[in-house]
Amino acid sequence: MAVDEGLKIELGKQGVIVTSLQELYNWGRRSSVWPMQFGLACCAIEMIATTMARYDMARFGAEIFRPSPRQADMMIISGTVTKKMAPQVVRLYNQMAEPKYVIAMGACAISGGPFKQGYNVLKGIDRYIPVDVHIPGCPPRPEALLQALMTLQKKIDGQPLTGDNRPPFLDAEAPGEFPVPEQGEHDLEPTSNKGVWPVPLVIR
């Protein structure tokens, strides 16, 4: 439903609020994104700093860090995901209630970062779970995490409730749970979830 933006402001001045269900719904979702209390490496220190008084992530609605995945809306993958840890990360993501979002914070969570050529580090968490926002940096500054949160909020704001572009949690067909990788004899099995992360074609 389209309401003219100027008319909305004009009505607001008169004490009349005009909104749509979608707008109200998305406003509610984006203003209370509760992150999961979960840190993996040095990026977690920056994440902690972001929540403290100086940067104060609570201003944006990502208020309380929940120690249980059942109560959290957002997972901040803050640091290196080792292959030993990866199944637990995917399992925690599966245990979160919909709607759920993922921010991959820092070079390691995006791609393995400085450990990309190592045998024991997962080359990006997006091999197993869908990531909404990637933050580059090693580690990213607290401002970058705030920017990522604002980007995520913009993304939530733009999601229609019906139609083909609706978010996956409103789509009964979309997968809600992602297979947890097994720790095999030489590597994780499978090495990636092909439905989430198509193996990039290296062209040269």
Binding site: Q117, Y119, P175, G184, H186, V199, L201, V202
Partner: protein, 236 residues
């Protein structure tokens, strides 16, 4: 503190039959080390800890070294009977002939210990121990009964190098998961081929990227199919 030579003499006096060798370090640090035989290791370690003058009561660091099988090519001069024409007459003459010979020096795994004394404030004394080979006889005696700090470090050496410490109270992998079969710090470890290669690889990475590419083309490039599947939906 005593020099390595003095420590060697003290060990040999205290532990009869102990095999101690000095490994010289020609670098500027001149940190020479003692290589001890594994048969008397426990009594040598106990002596080093309990001796009043040495009192090496703190094991600061324990790590491993992998010495793979080494192929040595050398040129040897061997006397041989050779047919030769000397002064127009053919005759057999004994002559030195150069020959290249190859021999394989068997490899082994090594554990390195850095010992300090908290009581005497001296150290480090570097101690080494070698396994018989690096395939089937990879046991070393555990020094956890002597220094408690060896426990986790021996587990790490077991995990990454595959040295089995006999007498360790709880020998499990510590960094990799239990089902893991390889020993990643060994020189012949093959990394999993699981990262996208950068557009301009070089050196070792180039070789690996090339091998990866060959493997991909050999399998009729399954990635193409995967990409098409992803494009037709299923992505979140």
């Amino acid at each position: 503190m005593k020099t390595v030579e003095e420590i060697k003499a003290a060990i040999e006096k205290a532990v009869p039959g102990a095999a101690v060798e000095i490994v010289m370090n020609p670098g500027p640090s001149a940190q020479n080390s003692l290589r001890i035989g594994k048969d008397h290791a426990l009594s040598i370690a106990t002596f080093l800890r309990d001796d009043a003058e040495l009192a090496l009561d703190f094991l600061s660091n324990l790590t491993g070294v992998d010495w793979p099988d080494k192929e040595i090519t050398e040129k040897v001069k061997i006397p041989k009977q050779v047919l030769k024409t000397v002064d127009g007459v053919e005759q057999t003459v004994e002559e030195l002939v150069e020959e290249t010979r190859k021999r394989v020096e068997p490899g082994h795994l090594e554990a390195v210990y850095h010992l300090y004394s908290m009581a005497k404030k001296h150290g480090p004394v570097v101690m080494r121990m070698r396994t018989a080979n690096r395939t089937d006889d990879v046991t070393l005696p555990s020094l956890t009964p002597v220094w408690r700090s060896a426990e986790f470090q021996e587990r790490e050496v077991f995990d990454l190098y595959g040295v089995e410490f006999k007498g360790h109270p709880d020998l499990r992998r510590i960094l990799m998961w239990d089902g893991f079969k390889d020993h990643p710090m060994r020189r012949d470890y093959v990394d999993p081929d699981d990262f996208e290669y950068e557009p301009t690889p070089h050196d070792e990475v180039l070789a690996r990227a090339q091998a990866h590419k060959n493997k991909e083309q050999g399998a009729g490039n399954p990635n193409q199919v995967v990409q098409e599947q992803a494009a037709s939906g299923g992505g979140r």
